[in-house]
């Protein structure tokens, strides 16, 4: 009972104080997926999605560290969260401009496959 209680309390504790490493691993996986997508995919839209994945991996890290600091009581717990909003603004702006570029590209060259677009060479 006592052990049950202690296990329950341990579960509660683990909800209250999640393990940081798990989040970091998930974030790392998301990041690697995003980078792999950017490097390998040919469709611009998919590359954009991959970029979103990279950004969100970063955001996840921020949140995780914010919570971790909150638990351990070291430092300002809001310092991580403060990064989230600017990050979202950047993502939104990037999406707006990037989609604009995609549309412009498509209108001019009728493709959004990036291996057919080597304008940066010139």
């Amino acid at each position: 009972m006592l052990q049950e209680a202690s296990r329950a309390s341990t579960a509660l504790e683990s909800i209250k104080h999640p393990d940081l490493s798990k989040f970091l691993v998930i974030a790392a996986i998301l990041f690697i997926i995003g980078v792999a997508g950017v490097l390998t995919r040919r469709n611009l839209l998919v590359i954009f999605m991959s970029i979103e994945l990279i950004l969100n991996a970063a955001n996840l890290n921020f949140i995780a560290f914010s919570r971790y600091l909150q638990d351990t009581g070291h430092g300002d717990p809001m310092s991580g969260l403060n990064f989230i909003n600017p990050d979202r603004f950047v993502a939104a702006a990037e999406a707006a401009i990037g989609l604009g570029i995609v549309i412009a590209l498509y209108r001019n060259r009728e493709t959004i496959w990036i291996d057919e677009i080597d304008l940066m060479k010139w």
Partner: protein, 782 residues
């Protein structure tokens, strides 16, 4: 009172400034302008008079002390060490000694490296006091006259501004206590002379005359400047008192010996020749008559032209240290006297006659100085100022009355129309002819007597002879002037208006009762009152220098006698000291009366000059006594005056056609005299033309060589810059381009390969870089 003499030059300057600056802005009336000008000069005259009175005649008179340098207005050039490069260079140890000047011990400090301190200070001494009175007194008469004569003239304010400025300059000249102040005044009067001769600047003749006067004066000023520099280099000071006290210690330079004193004196003499119109620098004075007549009277007869005499007398110590220069002065004076007098005989312009007469009389004054009679020279300056100013103003009155006609051939019979002018002119005529007791007699007779009896120079008899002939000519041409102007037939056309003839078109008609008749008329009161004053002075003014023959061989009147008055400033070469003649006390007079008076020829015992023929000495040995000798010469000078007058009357009154007959008979002489001996033409040919040639040559040199050089260097600059430009363009730029091209061609294939243009490649490179960075991080941290 002499504490206020600094006001004497300042007041006319203030008047001139007010007239010159505000006269035009506020459109001063003629009465106001004339009032300011006359008022300031009158105040100057009163102050001068009071100062001279308290200096010489009041209870605490300072008279025997010849140098009262009054308050230093300010230190003008506050000095520095002056190197006395000329003269007896002083030893480095200061030497101080005391010299007696007119009984006053004066401490002289001759030390090497003494300070040249030039102060603006006025000097009141017997010489400057006489000039102050002449300048302000005669000037006052002329100012009053000018208010009438210049009536209605455009630029009335300008005229009086210039005249006031002239008074200032002239008073600075005669009152300054050093050579530099004298030079300031000297140049100032030259400038005013230029401005006033060119008063009618829209007349070509006047403009040319003013330039001629200025340039001729510059030649003289050059000599004067050199002399001033030499004085400073010799004596280390410009102050008259110091120069005089040092100069007496120099040896007297005998005839033909050109020592330092002779050279200084030569420079001063050139300056005096320019200013006082002595041959050969006399050419400007007759032309200067293009100015208004009051200017001719004030500047070119009474005051400015006597500045040379003032300077000669002021520096008489230097001159008397050079027998050569004394002889030069005497000969130049005598030659100028006869030269100008013979020209005066044939001139027809009334002012030209008077101008040549002035030149001639100035020659007489130089003659007097040259034979050592500086006092008599100054005496003649004074009497000449009276009678010549009178005659010039009289001629101005005549010109005014004749509606600006100056040609004597168109005058005649004016006695009836202008009685006051005639009577005053008569006094001037008798004075200049030398008729006893008019003022000119005393001074001219004394000059001739001193010339005949001089022991200072040889050739005294020649100077006397020339002077006597010149005096005859003077009497002759002055009688001619009187006859042609005032006596005889009326030759002026009664109906014709001669205004435009003389070019006074800008002059308004003067309101006179005789306006419509165009007949000559008497001048207004403002013009004849000064004439009367000057006529009185011309009549009795000579009595201050009454000849010793009339007074028993001694100078009477104490300080009122000009000889006594001026003696303290004249160096006596026989006694090697300044003459000291205290005003004689009654006891002293008795003592002199008791002893047989010394002969003027006593100097022969000590005179180093010569033992040649001396006219007065020869005559004295014939007639016995000195007074008798003087009487002989008085009778001779009266006789030649009478001769000249008689000849004039014969030629121009009794039988007027005789003049033309003789002119035809002596045609070469007449032509020479009428054309002024072609001196102007000679100068034009020998100097002006040569100067123009030189100017042309210099201009050619300038345009060919100098401009050629400048233009050549400009061409060279352009040429070299073109060459450099081409080098830059083809060589330097070419090199740079070649190298750049080579590098680009070499490297570009390698670098170009990296640029695929594919986004994925770039992203891959970025990721690789990121991974490397992380890897390095790990490597580092382990």
């Amino acid at each position: 009172m002499y504490r206020y003499i600094w006001l004497v030059p300042l007041l006319p300057l203030i008047g001139a400034a007010i007239n010159g600056i505000f006269g035009r802005w506020f459109r001063f009336s003629e009465k106001l302008i004339g009032g300011i000008a006359v008022g300031t000069v009158a105040l100057s005259f009163l102050i001068s008079f009071a100062a001279v009175y308290s200096y010489g005649f009041s209870g605490n008179a300072q008279w025997p002390n010849p140098y009262i340098t009054t308050q230093t207005a300010f230190t003008w050039i506050p000095g520095g060490a002056v190197k006395q490069s000329l003269g007896t260079a002083q030893p480095s140890t200061p030497e101080t000694r005391t010299i007696s000047i007119a009984n006053q011990p004066v401490t002289v400090s001759n030390q090497r490296g003494s300070l040249l301190n030039i102060e603006w200070s006025y000097q009141l001494d017997p010489l400057s006091s006489i000039f102050m009175l002449i300048v302000t007194g005669v000037g006052l008469c002329i100012f009053v006259f000018a208010t009438g004569y210049m009536h209605g003239e455009t630029g009335f304010y300008r005229f009086f501004a210039y005249m006031g400025l002239f008074m200032f300059s002239m008073l600075v000249l005669v009152m300054g206590s050093n050579f530099v102040m004298m030079f300031v005044g000297w140049e100032g009067v030259g400038l005013c002379s230029y401005l006033l001769i060119g008063y009618y600047f829209n007349k070509q003749e006047a403009a040319n005359a003013s330039r001629k006067a200025f340039i001729t004066n510059r030649i003289g000023d050059f000599g004067f400047m050199l002399a001033v520099f030499a004085v400073i280099a010799t004596f280390g000071t410009a102050q008259f008192t110091n120069v005089v006290t040092q100069a007496v210690s120099y040896p007297v330079e005998s005839l033909g010996h050109w020592g330092l004193m002779s050279w200084i004196a030569l420079g001063l003499m050139i300056g005096a020749c320019g200013k006082s119109a002595q041959f050969p620098l006399h050419v400007w004075l007759p032309d200067a008559m293009a100015g208004p007549t009051p200017v001719s009277a004030l500047i070119h007869a009474a005051t400015m032209v006597t500045a040379g005499l003032y300077m000669l007398t002021r520096t008489n110590v230097i001159f008397q240290h050079s027998h050569t220069m004394m002889l030069v002065v005497a000969l130049v004076g005598a030659f100028t006297a006869i030269f100008a007098a013979t020209i005066g005989i044939t001139q027809n312009d009334i002012k030209k006659v008077l101008a040549y007469s002035t030149v001639s009389q100035l020659g007489f004054m130089f003659l007097a100085c040259g034979v050592g009679a500086f006092i008599i020279g100054i005496f003649h300056v004074m009497t000449h100022a009276f009678f010549k100013a009178l005659m010039f103003l009289g001629s101005g009155s005549v010109i005014h009355g004749m509606h600006h006609e100056q040609d004597m051939r168109k005058m005649g019979g004016l006695k009836k129309y202008m009685p006051i002018t005639y009577l005053t002119f008569l006094a001037g005529w008798l004075a200049i002819c030398g008729i006893i007791p008019f003022s000119g007699f005393w001074s001219k007779d004394e000059i001739l007597w001193n010339a005949a009896s001089t022991r200072q120079i040889p050739l005294g008899w020649l100077v006397w002879l020339v002077g006597t002939i010149a005096a005859t000519c003077t009497a002759f041409y002055m009688t001619r002037l009187m006859a042609m102007t005032f006596w005889g037939k009326e030759r002026f056309p009664a109906h014709e208006h001669s205004m435009e003839h003389e070019g006074h078109a800008q002059k308004k008609e003067h309101a006179t009762p005789h306006h419509d008749s165009h007949l000559p008329h008497e001048s207004p009161k403002s013009m004849w009152v000064p004439l009367v004053v000057l006529a009185i002075l011309a009549t009795v003014g000579g009595l201050v220098g009454i000849s010793t023959a009339f007074t028993g061989g001694k100078h009477v009147g104490g300080r009122m006698n000009i000889v006594h008055w001026l003696e303290p400033v004249i160096w006596d070469p026989t006694m090697k000291a300044f003459k000291v003649d205290e005003p004689l006390s009654p006891a002293e007079e008795a003592r002199i009366a008791a002893t047989p008076h010394t002969s003027v020829l006593r100097a022969e015992v000590v005179s180093p000059t010569e033992n040649g023929f001396n006219l007065a000495h020869t005559v004295e040995s014939k007639v016995g006594s000195e007074t008798a000798t003087e009487w002989v010469f008085i009778i001779i000078s009266l006789a030649v005056a009478g001769l000249g007058i008689g000849a004039g009357l014969l030629f121009y009154v009794k039988s007027p056609r005789l003049a033309d007959v003789w002119a035809a008979r002596l045609k070469p002489l007449y032509e020479a005299s009428y054309n002024k001996y072609w001196i102007d033409e000679f100068f034009g040919l020998a100097i002006t033309r040569r100067t123009m040639d030189l100017a042309r040559a210099v201009f050619a040199f300038d345009s060919k060589f100098v401009d050629g050089g400048v233009n050549g260097s400009a061409w060279l600059t352009r040429f070299t810059s073109t060459v450099t430009g081409l080098t830059d363009k083809y060589f330097v730029d070419g090199l740079v381009n070649t190298i750049a091209n080579f590098v680009v061609r070499l490297m570009s294939p390698i670098v170009r390969a990296a640029q695929t243009g594919l986004t994925a490649n770039y992203a891959l490179v970025m990721v690789i870089g990121l991974l490397i960075a992380v890897a390095l991080y790990f490597v580092k941290s382990f």
